[in-house]
Symmetry: C2
Subunit: 677 residues, 2 copies
């Protein structure tokens, strides 16, 4: 799930998830789905069983999950979660992302300075204390800060108060933090991300998306009392499996009307913009090798974002999604119609404002790093002169230093690329506002390309000293500036601010209030059946290992095999992104090709769940979550079991590849020590 | 110009071109721009000079131009015009498109059965006779048919009456037709189309877009009395050059309001659709080698179409384009306001209908070959039962056989591709009509992918015998059919027809009448300054060889060199589409690298001009037109000299490559025989 946590940026609202379908849910460890497990699977895990899983599970603070898998604090997660560390410790001579890594001895394990891993030690309900602090948002925030501070002082454990159920509950999570984390093993990226973007979110899949670390304390493997036993047999079709990880963000409380708004207005416009940007960038990239290099990263991001939004929109365009939501909310709506009406009014206002706000305030009409710097400078001058309480939220005292240091960082903007993107966004602006007098002023009598070139070539904002002078000179310097990008930012600022002001008062605030009312009504009526929206904190899920019939009518098997991987590489002539590393090709003869490799389970995960262990009834690890198929992209809004599937690497496949391709006998032995096959 | 003649499909209206900018114009051979050439260049070509050029120039009936370049009827044109012939005569063993061809002797020259070449023999003004026939469209058509028939019987020359100036004039063009045309030389496609789609419509360029044929009559080189002498020196910066070719289609009579409508409504929606289709197809192509093969052709078409429309839209978004049009039409509009008002009313109606008509009648919501067959079958049944005069125009008696044979042709539809494209278009339909009851029926309770799969898998229309039975069974069979695609076509048919009816009566007909009025008013007032819109018939253009400053502020040189070609290939590691054929790489040492290769001239050409010779004041050939840069994509609507440039292959470059790379000494000698360097 390279899109891990993407949707965090989308939403504002956390809320409760009132609709239980099948094996749905991201459950709290202190409110596990015992009833559901008993009724649906006849499975009654003990308190110790749950505690063991909780203490074996790990949160990766760069946005993923993992687990301890040996008494010596060996940790498994995904390659795409470990990749931040791999990049960090790579050198020009030694590219660990491309070439992988295997520590021959413990002494060879490589420290990752930036990683922090958390293991949930305890949960305490602090709702009463937070609520007692007062009703205002700032009262609550102060109470939360005090609780966290007090807990940390007392326990020396990382202490986070998590807001659950849209403020229906506040829980204090205490974590044991591991900061000395060392790399043990990583495969080549080509094997981990086999199939690249074309295969991302697809199934059948063939990814060795695996990475091993080890937690250290005081220079030795960290002493731990819980780790998952490794199932040498691994998952089998029809098995109940449970996931333990940190799903990042869901937004399942949105009303049916709100989902329709996303479907009809928000997502289509986002996609329109992504498609344009992607094709503009691709055209730029095609013109030279250097262009290709400059565009590569952003192109991957755009392809990934397009896939995510297309998947989300596909879920919303399935009539069942909104119909089920409508049916499920009917009775609550009937008993308390006011917030629903408020939401519909707010969405009508949002609809009327949408293009205006996106184009001007979100600056979709001004897609340029240089413009964005100009706007920051212009707004910084205006906002920093105001009392703290009256400023735009991103310019309050607490954030001002961040804005400044970002503006004063030595960045390099590629003028030609910036001009291309700006030109295309000005063209979009003209399409959306063809007869607009302000837009006419923006264009200054030129076409989009000519105008963009003039702006990008004319501005001096690429020079950090110029930015510094404007920042330090404040309003006076900004007023006096004749830099064309500053002039443009000033020209459109009032229009942008106005759209934002209206959106905040007519849309954002009414929505916040209405959703809070709905959430508390729901919480009052049906607390015990509820799980809260995902909050990138430890959760429990459950479901069955099984295939499905996809939307194109194809029956997809519960698992793939290693043979399938080699076949797919051969069918694509081992051409990128279907190219297997040399070592994989050379050692094919040693591999037991019929071994299960990737598999799917009908289980409720989203971005952030990457690296979650899947365990069987015995609590042994049988798979490692690394992705979801296309239909899971709709899981932000609603779980659906028909063809939404979590995709995992099979534990048998992991051991077979470690043995046959990497000769990682030490690692296999360490896992094997805990085998219960 | 692989987009040759594309815009024919766009427009309905031919009209006069009243605005003369600089070296603008596609002039008639019987009304050449003598005054302009004299005043601007002090050049006064004689009648013989013009006649010689006319008789040396060739129209390729597959959509391009060319010229005789030796007394033995040797013909030069572009590789991309010759490619139809190359494909036709290629065999599995001998791929002439990829590998090129050089006839060692005349006996080795390869016949192209499907080529017909025309040389304009004479022009006769038959306006009076056509007008005398009556006022109705059918009277005129009958008169034209009679004139053509009579002329052919009398002269045995191909005889076409060309409608010029929106019916302001009718000229009878008599052509000498050559039907025994043989291939003499073609380079490898990689050299002809070097840079592929990324470089298409761009400059600087490095294309050897050249092909030689020879016309035969009675088994011997056709006896001709006019051919262009070959300039060994070729074009030089600052030279006056004249083009002689067959520009395909322009539409320069549209009003400013109409251009704004294209800019704001028509082109953005076309581009939205192209972008979606391109990305959907690319995603499909990425999933397997076979998919890639299936999608390749359509992907190229889409990339090319996107570039064309983006270029056209860029021209329209340059405020100068519409402002100049508005200024130029002001006085005529003041003296005769009615047609302008009619056009604005019609465009308002078009705007209101646009999305409805595109999605339903143009079937943008049903992007599927199988759906399109279903609609043809449903409409065939309904229309063929009506009297001829009441039918939709594509089902009149004259066209009915065409419809039937198309439906009964053995075609193969790739189900999975058809389902993908249909799914994406259903998603677009949902975006445009989210709350529409008919669209809800279309979706039948499913999401776009699931519904598309159900339709494509469920229909039997892929079987030609099923289509035949429905076609022959008529309305009764269609009514009784429960084929899901037939049911869908029936479901949306009335809605689609209704949009079309309204568009024809509220938009098409009022526009036709209003433009006819404007054209005749213009023709009355300013006949002598006018050239008619392009009609894929022989025209004369003129302009200067010179570079330009592009919209990104880069100064582009008047010519490139062969060295630049090799450099560009090397910079891209000779990777596709920047890969030079082996022979080019091997013989680089023999090539005079400083030789001019491609060059630009500020001259008014459009699709169809491909292969036009450029001649100097002496009438010698100095270059071969093969493309225009991005700004020329706006030439459909208005010429602009600032940075719009025609791109040509330089005659020195042609000879140098023929000599050094291909060792084509015979060919060089034959060209050299007519050299006047």
């Amino acid at each position: 799930m390279p899109a891990a946590l993407r949707s965090v940026a989308l939403g504002l609202l956390l809320s409760v998830c009132p609709f239980l379908h099948a094996d749905e849910g991201m459950w709290l460890f202190n409110a596990p789905p015992l009833e559901q497990l008993r009724v649906r699977y006849g499975f009654e895990p003990s308190a110790q069983w749950l505690e063991h899983l909780q203490h074996s599970s790990i949160r990766f603070n760069n946005g993923g999950s993992g687990a301890f898998v040996s008494p010596d604090a060996l940790i498994i997660t995904n390659h795409h979660i470990g990749i931040d560390c791999l990049s960090e410790i790579s050198t020009e001579r030694k590219n660990l992302v491309a070439n992988g890594f295997l520590a021959k001895t413990r002494a060879d394990e490589l420290p990752c300075r930036s990683l922090e891993l958390n293991v949930l030690a305890s949960i305490e309900d602090v709702t009463a204390r937070v609520n007692a602090a007062g009703n205002s948002e700032s009262d609550r925030r102060a109470a939360i800060a005090a609780i966290e501070e007090e807990s940390f002082t007392e326990t020396k454990l990382r202490s986070d108060v998590v807001t659950l159920y849209q403020g229906g509950a506040y829980h204090l999570y205490r974590y044991h933090a591991y900061t000395d984390v060392r790399l043990v093993f990583a495969p080549e990226e080509d094997a981990a991300f086999f199939g690249g973007d074309p295969d991302n979110f697809e199934y059948p899949r063939y990814n060795f998306d695996v990475c091993f670390f080890r937690a250290y304390e005081n220079g030795r493997p960290a002493p731990i009392s819980h780790w998952l036993r490794w199932s040498a047999a691994g998952a089998k079709e029809g098995d109940l499996v449970l996931s333990s990880g940190n799903p990042g963000f869901t937004d399942r409380g949105r009303t049916a009307a709100h989902l329709a708004f996303l479907r009809d207005i928000v997502d289509p416009f986002i996609l329109e913009r992504i498609r344009r940007r992607e094709l503009t960038l691709r055209k730029f990239a095609q013109r030279s090798t250097e262009n290709e290099r400059r565009a590569a990263n952003e192109l991957l991001n755009l392809e990934n974002a397009r896939k995510s939004y297309e998947g989300e929109l596909a879920a919303l365009q399935d009539p069942a999604t909104i119909e089920e939501k409508r049916a499920a909310e009917a009775s609550l709506r009937q008993s308390e119609p006011e917030p629903w009406q408020t939401i519909e009014r707010a969405l009508a206002a949002d609809r009327a404002l949408h293009v205006e706000r996106r184009m001007f305030e979100s600056a979709w009409g001004f897609d340029s790093a240089l413009f964005s710097q100009a706007r920051q400078i212009v707004r910084h001058a205006a906002e920093s002169a105001k009392p703290n309480g009256e400023r735009l939220r991103e310019f309050t005292d607490a954030r001002l230093i961040g804005v400044q240091s970002e503006l004063l960082a030595e960045t390099s903007t590629w003028q030609d690329l910036d001009a291309r993107m700006l030109a295309d966004s000005l063209a979009l602006l003209l399409e959306k506002f063809p007869d607009d007098p302000l837009v006419r002023q923006v264009m200054a009598g030129k076409g989009p390309k000519a105008r963009a070139t003039e702006l990008v070539r004319g501005t001096k904002l690429g020079d950090v000293e110029v930015r510094r002078a404007l920042l330090e000179g404040g309003a006076e310097a900004v007023d006096a500036s004749d830099d064309p990008m500053i002039l443009l930012a000033k020209l459109v600022d009032e229009r942008a601010r106005n759209a934002r002001r209206r959106w905040e008062s007519e849309v954002e605030e009414p929505l916040r209030q209405a959703y809070a009312k709905i959430a508390s009504a729901r919480f009052r009526t049906a607390k015990s059946d509820l799980y809260p929206d995902a909050t990138f904190s430890p959760r429990l899920g459950f479901g069955t290992v099984r295939g499905y019939v996809d939307e194109e009518g194809v029956t997809q098997p519960w698992s793939t095999t290693i043979a399938g991987l080699y076949d797919r590489a051969a069918a694509r002539a081992n051409a990128e992104p279907y190219d297997l590393p040399e070592r994989w090709l050379a050692r094919k003869g040693r591999v037991a090709l019929a071994t299960p490799f990737n598999f799917v389970a009908a289980i409720d995960t989203v971005g952030g769940s990457s690296g979650s262990p899947l365990v069987d009834r015995s609590g042994s690890m049988v798979g490692l979550v690394f992705d979801g198929n296309l239909p899971t992209l709709g899981f932000s809004f609603a779980y659906q079991e028909r063809d939404g599937r979590t995709i995992a690497v099979h534990t048998r496949g992991i051991v077979e590849i470690l043995r046959a391709v990497y000769g990682a006998t030490g690692l296999v032995r360490e896992l094997g020590a805990s085998t219960n096959a």
